[in-house]
C-alpha cells in the first residue's frame, strides 16, 4: 500500500470512526430520507404511480438527502477546528478522496434503503434490477462527488449550512434528467436502449465529478 492509499484510508477511517462515535450524521440522514419517502408515499395515497413519476420522486428525495447530509464532511471539520490539523497531515487530494469515498458509501446505503422503502410503500416492482442498480451507483457517485466538493467550498464561508445545498443543487439538477430517464426504464417504462444510454451517462458524470473534484479541491484547500 503506497502513501496515497494510506492517507486516503486514514481519512476514510477517521470519518467512519467519528460518525460511529456520535451517529448524528447517520441519524440526520435516516430521519430526513425516511420522512421524505413517507411524505411522498403519503402524498401519492391511493394513486398508482407511473414509472416516470415514481423515478422522479425517488430522485428528488435522493437529491435533497445528499444536499442535507453530504456537506457535513467538511463543515464539521471547520466547526470543530480540526481542519487545520488535516491540512498539516494529509495531502488535499487524499483528504478529498477519503471524504468523497465515505460520502459515496453513505449515499449507496441510503439509496438502497430508500429504494426498498419507496417501492414497498408505493407497491411497485423493478423490471430491470441490474439497470436500476447501475443507475443508482452512477447517481450516488455523481451526488457524492459534486456535494463533497460544494461542502468543501463553503466550509469556511458565512451561513455554510444552507449555502452548501443551495450551490450544490444547480450543479446536480442536470443529473435529474439522466437519473429519471434511466430509472423509469428500469421500472419498465420506455425503450431499454434509452435507459442504458442514460445509465452510461450517469456513470460518466459520476466518474468525471470524482476525477475533477480532487484537483479543484487541492486549489482551494490551503488558500
Amino acid at each position: 500500500m503506497n502513501s496515497w492509499q494510506r492517507e486516503i484510508k486514514a481519512v476514510f477511517r477517521k470519518e467512519l470512526a467519528s460518525e460511529l462515535r456520535t451517529r448524528s450524521g447517520l441519524a440526520t440522514v435516516a430521519l430526513f430520507s425516511i420522512a421524505a419517502v413517507v411524505a411522498v408515499a403519503f402524498a401519492a395515497f391511493n394513486i398508482r404511480l407511473g414509472g416516470s413519476l415514481a423515478s422522479g420522486l425517488l430522485w428528488v428525495t435522493l437529491l435533497f438527502t445528499a444536499a442535507v447530509a453530504l456537506p457535513r464532511a467538511f463543515v464539521t471539520e471547520e466547526e470543530q477546528g480540526t481542519g487545520d490539523l488535516l491540512r498539516l497531515i494529509a495531502r488535499p487530494e487524499a483528504v478529498f478522496w477519503g471524504k468523497a469515498l465515505y460520502n459515496l458509501g453513505l449515499m449507496l446505503v441510503t439509496g438502497l434503503i430508500l429504494s426498498l422503502l419507496f417501492f414497498t410503500m408505493i407497491g411497485r416492482g423493478i423490471e430491470h434490477p441490474v439497470l436500476y442498480l447501475i443507475c443508482l451507483i452512477g447517481s450516488c457517485a455523481s451526488l457524492a462527488g459534486a456535494v463533497t466538493l460544494c461542502g468543501a467550498l463553503v466550509a469556511q464561508a458565512a451561513g455554510r449550512g444552507a449555502l452548501a445545498g443551495a450551490i450544490a443543487i444547480p450543479l446536480l439538477l442536470p443529473l435529474v434528467a439522466l437519473g429519471v430517464a434511466g430509472m423509469r426504464v428500469a421500472l419498465g417504462e420506455g425503450a431499454l436502449r434509452g435507459g442504458e444510454e442514460a445509465a452510461f451517462g450517469l456513470v460518466c458524470y459520476g466518474v468525471a465529478t470524482l476525477a475533477i473534484g480532487p484537483a479543484l479541491f487541492a486549489a482551494v484547500w490551503k488558500s
Binding site: A146, L149, C150, L153, V154, Q156, A157, A158, G159, R160, L163, A166, I167, I169, P170, L171, L172, L173, P174, A177, A181, G190, G194, G201, Y205, A208, T209, I212, G213, L216, F217, A219, V220, S223
Partner: protein
C-alpha cells in the same frame, strides 16, 4: 445597433410562425443566447487561469465574464418568455431549452451567492473560481446534450441554420445582429474588467496608505481600566 433594429422591422414577415410580424424578437433572442453560451465557458476558462496563477486580475476577469453571462442570460430568458407567449400561447412551456436556460441562471445565481458568502478576498476568489470550473460540466450538458436527447421533444428547432433554412434578409439580419451583440458584449466586458481592476488598485492603495499611516487593522489592544479596591 439602431440601424440594425430598424432594418429588422423592414424585412418581410417570416411565414412559418403563428404571428409572423411578432417573430422579430428572434433577432434579439438568438444573439443573446449565443453570447450567454460564450460567457458560460469563458467564466470557467478565466477561473482556471486564476487557479493556476492566483493573480487577482484573473478573478476580476472571471467575475466580470460571469456577471455579463448572467445579464445576457436574463435577456435571453426575457425575450424567450415573450416569444413563447406570442407564438406558443403560454408564458412558460417547460420546453427543454427554456428549462435548461433556467438552470443556467440558477448556476450563475449560486456562483454569486458563494462569492457573497466570503469576506476574505483570496478565499472568495479561490472558492468561486473552483465552483465556476465545476459548473463547466453541467453547463456542457445543459446547452449541448440535454436539448438533443432523443426522448426530449422541444419547440426549438435544432437544425435551422445547418440546413440553410435561415436565408435571405432574415438570415442577413440575424447574422448582423449576432455580430453586433458579440461586439457589444466584448465592449461591456472590457469596461467591466477595467472598472474591476480600478477597484482592485484603489483597494491596494488604501491598504498601503493605512499601513504607512500606522492605522492599519485594529490589533485587539487592551486598554487599562482603573478598578478601585473597594469594588
Amino acid at each position: 445597433m439602431g440601424a440594425a433594429t430598424l432594418w429588422s422591422f423592414m424585412v418581410p414577415d417570416a411565414a412559418m410562425f403563428q404571428k409572423p410580424e411578432l417573430a422579430r424578437i428572434f433577432f434579439f433572442h438568438f444573439p443573446c443566447a449565443i453570447v450567454t453560451s460564450i460567457f458560460l465557458f469563458l467564466g470557467p476558462y478565466l477561473s482556471i487561469r486564476y487557479l493556476v496563477s492566483k493573480t487577482p486580475e484573473w478573478d476580476v476577469r472571471a467575475a466580470s465574464a460571469n456577471e455579463l453571462g448572467l445579464l445576457f442570460g436574463v435577456f435571453t430568458m426575457a425575450t424567450g418568455i415573450l416569444f413563447s407567449r406570442v407564438q406558443w400561447g403560454a408564458w412558460w412551456q417547460w420546453d427543454p431549452r427554456q428549462t435548461s436556460f433556467l438552470l443556467v441562471l440558477l448556476i450563475y445565481g449560486a456562483y454569486f451567492a458563494l462569492r457573497a458568502a466570503f469576506s476574505d478576498e483570496s478565499k472568495r476568489a479561490a472558492n468561486s473560481a473552483a465552483y465556476s470550473v465545476a459548473t463547466a460540466l453541467p453547463a456542457l450538458f445543459l446547452i449541448f446534450v440535454f436539448p438533443r436527447l432523443p426522448q426530449v421533444e422541444s419547440f426549438h428547432p435544432t437544425e435551422t441554420i445547418q440546413k440553410g433554412l435561415l436565408k435571405g434578409d432574415y438570415g442577413n439580419v440575424t447574422l448582423v445582429m449576432l455580430v453586433l451583440f458579440t461586439v457589444l458584449a466584448a465592449w461591456l466586458y472590457k469596461l467591466r474588467v477595467r472598472a474591476g481592476l480600478a477597484e482592485l488598485a484603489l483597494e491596494n492603495m488604501n491598504g498601503n496608505l493605512e499601513a504607512h499611516s500606522g492605522s492599519a487593522a485594529p490589533t485587539g489592544v487592551v486598554r487599562p481600566v482603573p478598578v478601585s479596591r473597594e469594588g
